[in-house]
């Protein structure tokens, strides 16, 4: 097989998704018939089309995997277990997101919205498949650019949507530029864009101190990618953008950029380093990046949780909690790299999946619930939900408890794994990190509990209604079921994520 054919095979499911998106873009404008078709009929057709594309991609993922020989290939893409895992996670997220957007899009934009969603999903997996700095950057942009349009296109967020879009657009460009700046420094230092070759070059560089150009490159890349994972220092867009966006869009923003950000970090700063390289430039660079992660992690946890305490708007609160969760996940990278039974990277990926299932469910429920003609916005809008819609309140409670980290939910297992992995490192910095994580879990309980309190302990003020659209509930129920299932059967997920930590 030629290198090209091999490369295409490595990302075949994504090619399918992009092809489907192209079909939607091309056909979309021709089938819009204003006022003739029943309300939201086209939206359902395009949703079904997206589901079919996701199913085709999933079939490809399951039954037609690329050869393992691509692991160390010199091509643009590589195929390994991490890619397969991320692909599965992204396809599952795609399913939930399509269900959430099922009836939410006006016919005029339905094709575009669903096409953009497929493009974003493809971009996330592409980042996991990237074996080259250029491809990695392109994949990051394949996530960003459709997101700008996605944020703006539905025009449902009211007056705040344009502001949110602009803010996201400008900051995203800014952070991308910083990443690109860092990548160019990296290229300048080692003279290649191929990720595998970069690692080899770093490993064979003489002298145990990394040159400052590499330190600058690392700092730029990490800082720029913090935009994606909504970690400090590029976190401040999150509350405004989440608040301004439609809840379904916020579900996407809370999860997929985190996936792409962490995957890019894992690809650029691989956690596993052969013992022979300890003390080399690569090792020094790794120490430096770990130190950066440590700072980001601690800052994100405190900033996210303390500011979330002050929020009344549900989406702003979840945005700050999303920052805090980015901090929790970063502990997996920041606690250290000593091999142990519970590897930080495995704990991170475990938590990422648990968080994804949870947060998509919470936002999905916000799509489903409405207050009169407007969507649910503040915490007080949920007052008395347990009496008016007990099932919705129960689902929300499960999901919020998972965010809090209470048993029996995935959030508890995820936090436990992160804590255990930090303690197993046995260093003072890791101990501090574990203690900070635990303290933050206690702080966070205060604002999560407020949501549950409002739903259960307050009388309903004015009736909350539902959109009555079944697919969104199905998506939320899937998420809640996954949240509980991960608690009871963590082995299934753990065995998957554990293999990347060897």
């Amino acid at each position: 097989m030629s290198v090209l054919a091999q490369s295409v095979r490595a990302v075949l499911p994504e090619c399918l998704l992009i092809a489907a998106a192209c079909v939607q873009f091309l056909l979309g404008p021709f089938v819009v018939t204003e006022g003739v078709a029943g309300p939201r009929r086209l939206g359902r057709i395009w949703s079904l089309f997206s589901l079919a594309a996701l199913a085709a991609a999933a079939a490809c993922w399951l039954w037609y995997p690329a050869p393992e020989s691509l692991v160390d290939s010199l091509g643009m893409f590589r195929y390994d277990a991490l890619l397969a895992f991320i692909r599965g996670v992204v396809l599952a997220a795609g399913l939930v997101l399509v269900l959430i957007h099922w009836d939410e899009v006006a016919d005029g934009f339905a094709a575009e919205v669903h096409g953009l969603l497929l493009l974003i999903l493809a971009g996330v997996v592409m980042a996991a498949a990237a074996n080259d700095l250029v491809v990695l950057f392109l994949a990051l942009e394949l996530v960003s650019i459709p997101t700008y349009v996605f944020l703006y296109l539905p025009r449902r967020g009211g007056a705040t949507a344009p502001e949110a879009t602009t803010k996201y657009f400008l900051l995203s460009i800014f952070s991308s530029a910083i990443v690109l700046y860092g990548l160019s420094f990296l290229y300048g230092a080692v003279g290649t864009t191929h990720l595998g070759t970069i690692q080899t070059a770093l490993a064979h560089q003489t002298g145990d101190k990394a040159p400052s150009i590499l330190l600058i490159a690392t700092a730029c890349i990490v800082a720029g990618l913090s935009f994606r994972v909504t970690a400090v220092p590029f976190h401040f867009y999150a509350p405004d953008v989440f608040q301004g966006a439609h809840a379904g869009t916020a579900a996407l923003l809370a999860f997929l950029p985190k996936v792409v950000g962490f995957v890019a970090l894992l690809r650029l700063f691989p956690a596993d380093l052969p013992a022979a390289l300890l003390g080399s430039t690569a090792d020094d660079l790794r120490l430096w990046s770990t130190w950066l992660f440590w700072l980001m992690s601690v800052a994100s946890m405190f900033v996210g949780n303390v500011l979330a305490l002050l929020q009344r708007d549900l989406k702003r609160l979840l945005a700050y909690s999303s920052i805090a969760h980015a901090g929790y996940m970063l502990t997996g990278l920041a606690s250290g790299h000593r091999p142990s039974a519970v590897h930080g990277v495995a704990a991170l990926l475990f938590y990422l999946v648990a968080y994804g299932a949870t947060i998509a469910g919470v936002f999905g429920l916000m799509v489903y619930l409405r207050r009169g003609r407007r969507p649910v916005e503040t915490i007080d809008d949920l007052a008395g939900l347990s009496q008016t819609h007990p099932a919705c309140a129960a689902l929300m409670t499960i999901l919020v408890f998972s965010l809090t980290g209470l048993p029996p939910t995935a959030g508890f297992m995820g936090k436990f794994n992160l804590l255990l992995s930090a303690w197993l490192q046995g260093t003072t910095t890791a101990y501090v990190l574990a203690a900070v994580l635990a303290v933050n879990a206690a702080i966070a309980a205060a604002y999560y509990l407020r949501i549950v309190t409002v739903m259960y302990l307050r009388p309903p003020v004015e009736s909350v209604e539902t959109s009555g659209r079944f697919p969104a509930v199905a998506g939320v129920a899937l998420c809640a079921a996954a949240t509980v299932a991960i608690f009871f059967f963590p082995r299934v997920l753990w065995d998957l994520v554990d293999q990347f930590a060897v």
């Binding site: 039974a341 574990a434 309980a445 309190t453």
Partner: protein, 545 residues
């Protein structure tokens, strides 16, 4: 049915019934019926379990195996593969769903079943709002408590320990008194913050065991205890683990400076919530000390835990008793008396000898029975007169003769009158402490006198003396109703039986507590030997062989 099936059913039946009630949209009467059936069935199962356990030979008490399950059920939950594997170490660390039962667990499961049964009955009258969810919360709480008492995996224990917060949060917050929201939130956040600290300690412990790699199941309490009895952790590490673990348990008990959440939660909780909170949930803290701290970090318990906890316990005994004396609200009075009584329980446990441990254990059961009964009666009075102020009541004995008679009996049991249950536990606990520290023991005895003082004063003012006119319901209130009698009388009968013949209880927990006491005897000898050899050995945590 095999013993294991009965054992699992005691945990799963209430949980399943609770979830069924949440899901199925049944009318209130059906929900009540199901809750009563489920709790009665669980009580029957627990008694069957006790009978099964009494038939089995119990393992001989050994210092090397301080925790033993008589019946156990284990299921793989999560396994961590070691990546730093070398040949000497175990390859995999298994986290398990490990449920087991020994004498200690059995008694607490019996207590929980009985009190939940009472709680369901006592809620028959007062609860009319969201009945289905109410009983679902009660049943799920019961399942969680059974799980916590039977968890032999340290992580599973923590899971149940945390999980019990949730149903109680809803019980207090939805069906409680006027300040219920404040009380529920304070209760939840306070205990959650405490248990997060416990989680840090727990993870510190297991991280060390996983890192040590000697165990294939580094989360199983019996195996941890056996391993650490043989090769103790370094002293400083034991100290850190003990202090971290204790925070959550001390909040739950509650030990003296961590008790501030308790009075509010008790006052605002519905009667059934108070009964379970005082009767069982507080035991969870003491049980945590007994099940986890004592066998796993013995040196820290012996050298730091014992002096620290017993001093705090004595302060709690006196402080709780004085506060109780100062209360005019009946429920607050009982709440503060709980703080005082649980002080005796911890005092006994941290005497760290066979008498003390037995006394502490009995005190857990006795306090559950007598305080449960006190809360039931206070609830009955409140339901009739809508006040709990001692000043507004008065002369109840002439209006509610039966209830008043039972109240007198309960107060005497709670105050530790010889012949009733409170006496047995307190005497054993104080005797155990007397061997270790005479001053503390004697000071603590003042608490017994104070208990009689505040309980009898309350009796005199609220139940005897001149009859006060009550604005509403005067003259038309019924005395003890049928379901109230069924919920209250079994507890009081048990108070009497235990007071007269505590032997079966003591025999049930004897093997388990004996093993623990042996462990401490061996640690004490080791400590004296090491003092003779100089303090360096102790600091390194050498094992005394």
């Amino acid at each position: 049915m095999t013993a294991t099936a009965i054992f699992l059913a005691t945990i799963l039946l209430p949980l399943a019934a609770g979830v069924l009630l949440l899901v199925a949209r049944w009318p209130a009467a059906a929900a009540r019926g199901l809750a009563l059936t489920a709790t009665a069935a669980t009580l029957a199962l627990s008694i069957a379990l006790a009978w099964q356990l009494s038939e089995r030979p119990r393992p001989a008490a050994e210092a090397g195996r301080p925790v033993n399950a008589a019946i156990e059920w284990r299921q793989e939950w999560l396994s961590y593969n070691r990546h730093d594997s070398n040949v000497l170490n175990e390859q995999t660390a298994h986290l398990e769903l490990f449920l087991g039962i020994d004498g200690i667990s059995l008694l607490l499961v019996l207590l929980t079943s009985l009190l939940t049964f009472s709680a369901v009955l006592i809620s028959w009258g007062p609860i009319h709002d969201r009945v289905r969810e109410y009983y679902a919360s009660l049943l799920i709480l019961q399942g969680g408590l059974h799980g916590a008492f039977c968890a032999f995996d340290i992580v599973l224990f923590y899971v149940f320990f945390e999980f019990t917060l949730l149903p109680l949060f809803f019980l207090v917050g939805i069906w409680g008194g006027p300040r219920r929201r404040e009380a529920a939130i304070k209760f939840f956040l306070y205990t959650f913050a405490g248990s997060v600290v416990t989680l840090i300690g727990l993870v510190l412990l297991v991280a060390n065991l996983v890192g040590r790699g000697a165990l294939s199941h580094p989360f199983s309490i019996p195996e941890i205890a056996a391993e650490l009895a043989l090769n103790p952790l370094p002293y400083a590490l034991q100290m850190a683990i003990f202090l971290l673990l204790s925070v959550g348990f001390a909040v739950k008990v509650p030990l003296f400076p961590f008790h501030t959440w308790l009075p509010l939660a008790h006052v605002e909780a519905p009667t059934a919530g108070s009964v379970l909170l005082a009767g069982v949930l507080l035991k969870l803290g003491a049980y945590g000390f007994l099940r986890i701290c004592l066998p796993i970090v013995p040196d820290a318990c012996l050298h730091v835990g014992a002096p620290l906890v017993s001093v705090l316990a004595v302060i709690g005994i006196l402080y709780g008793a004085l506060c109780a004396y100062a209360q005019s609200d009946l429920k607050k009075l009982v709440a503060y008396s709980s703080i005082s009584h649980l002080g005796f329980c911890l005092l006994g446990l941290f005497a760290l000898n066979a008498e003390g441990l037995t006394g502490g254990m009995l005190q857990m059961i006795n306090h559950g029975l007598s305080t449960g009964a006190l809360f039931l009666i206070v609830g009955m009075v409140y339901e009739r007169y809508h006040t709990r102020e001692v000043g507004d009541l008065g002369g109840l004995a002439s209006r509610l003769p039966l209830i008043s008679a039972l109240m007198v009996f309960t107060c005497l049991a709670s105050a530790g009158l010889p012949g009733l249950n409170g006496f047995v536990g307190e005497v054993l606990a104080l005797a155990g402490m007397f061997k270790v520290d005479r001053t503390l023991s004697i000071v603590a005895t003042l608490g017994v006198i104070l208990a009689a003082l505040y309980l009898l004063t309350m009796l005199k003012r609220a139940f005897f003396g001149p009859v006060r006119p009550t604005p509403e319901h005067a003259g038309s209130v019924p005395d003890l109703r049928g379901c109230e009698a069924w919920s209250l009388v079994p507890l009081l009968l048990l108070c009497l039986v235990i007071g007269v013949y505590p032997r079966p209880l003591i025999d049930t927990v004897k093997p388990d507590l004996e093993a623990l006491a042996r462990l401490y005897d061996s640690r004490r000898t080791a400590a004296t030997q090491q003092v003779a050899r100089g303090p360096a050995g102790l600091a390194r945590g050498e094992s005394p062989r």
